[in-house]
Symmetry: C2
Subunit: 216 residues, 2 copies
Amino acid sequence: MTAPVPDPAPAPAAAPVRVLLADDEHLIRGALAALLGLEDDLVVVAEAATGPEALAMARAHRPDVAVLDLQMPGADGVTVATVLRDELPGCRTMIVTGHGRPGHLKRALSAGVRGFVPKTVSAQRLAEIIRTVHAGNRYVDPELASDAIAAGDSPLTAREAEVLELSADGAPVTEIARRASLSPGTVRNYLSSAAAKLGAENRHTAVRLAQAKGWV
Amino acid sequence: MTAPVPDPAPAPAAAPVRVLLADDEHLIRGALAALLGLEDDLVVVAEAATGPEALAMARAHRPDVAVLDLQMPGADGVTVATVLRDELPGCRTMIVTGHGRPGHLKRALSAGVRGFVPKTVSAQRLAEIIRTVHAGNRYVDPELASDAIAAGDSPLTAREAEVLELSADGAPVTEIARRASLSPGTVRNYLSSAAAKLGAENRHTAVRLAQAKGWV
DNA sequence: CGCCGTTTCTGACAAATGTCATGGCGTCAG
DNA sequence: CTGACGCCATGACATTTGTCAGAAACGGCG
């Protein structure tokens, strides 16, 4: 007469998934750690509040899955993921972000990130996605994916993007030219062609558009 | 032989604090609700993901304290707080924000908000602050407060701020003039004086500075 | 009332920026 | 090799923007 209730201790035969949590917002990190800890097949082995700290923690604890916030002090989530891919190939990485721009997803995927989700998902859903990623599969939020597809690839050449980025803080052309070691006329040409490609009237709106698409 | 453990039901003599939670990031909201629910003198009676939803929930459940995210779809936290002050005077409001700008704090305080904290605090700390606010006291994060004091008041006149805000998206002067029903020359003068007051070289850097201080 | 100062507005001029045509240079595919 | 393409630069020109001197409207104030 064996009870139908499952044995509480070794119910999942496999070892639990070891998770690293990196987010600069203590409120979220702590709350998330608590909620994920409720899942009996997940265990949070380390937390970090900055990019460098996340790297140090990953090296020390060698987690199975690293859950990284996109925007952190020191180094952003994608940068951390890039380093982790080289240093800890066995560690899967995934990005959690508040407001993801299309370009970020592309950057993340080319950095070997296997999961990309917005913070609007529930903790339950996040736990499922962590399992998916740990199993070696990929998951990207459908809405973010469709945004990325709609945005397409950047039409800008490397120099155009570089110059556009330098003009992001509103510096005058001569200043941009100095910083890029280019002739002022060249800078104006690049900015002009970049604005034309983006359908913007001037470089400032061009910068905004490019930033919105995540191309800078 | 009474057991020393406290009676689970009516341990706190006072009624629990009824809390409304409004944040567009489901992950945070759910996790927060779970953590605050662990405190036996706090109870989360409603959750909302947008500004209008927060208002509707507040009207329906009449919470003691409303914890509002600063950036939400529909209406931001300060706007919601302004409406709540008129409609539900008994409801204390507080703002939780990811990256708060100095000007936001000033706006929030003049909207009757009694608590202003960044998301870098722990859930434990947040619970304490909710109690503080419920008791009728105020609490603002020391770092945010010092930032606000350092930033000071806006040196811009009403028109200067208005025109600067219209130029925020990089629109040309003629477009701004049309939207503000002003002469293009007048717009240029306002932008020029605003840039001078802010120590900026042109209106675009001026916009960035003003946004960083929360003056627009 | 006249005087003063502030805000709001305008026009004229100078500087910065956007646009276009043009050309040299290097690289890569066919 | 040739042609296509991206990169860097120059000069001329139109447009936009920044700067300045000052005028009209308005509200105190003696």
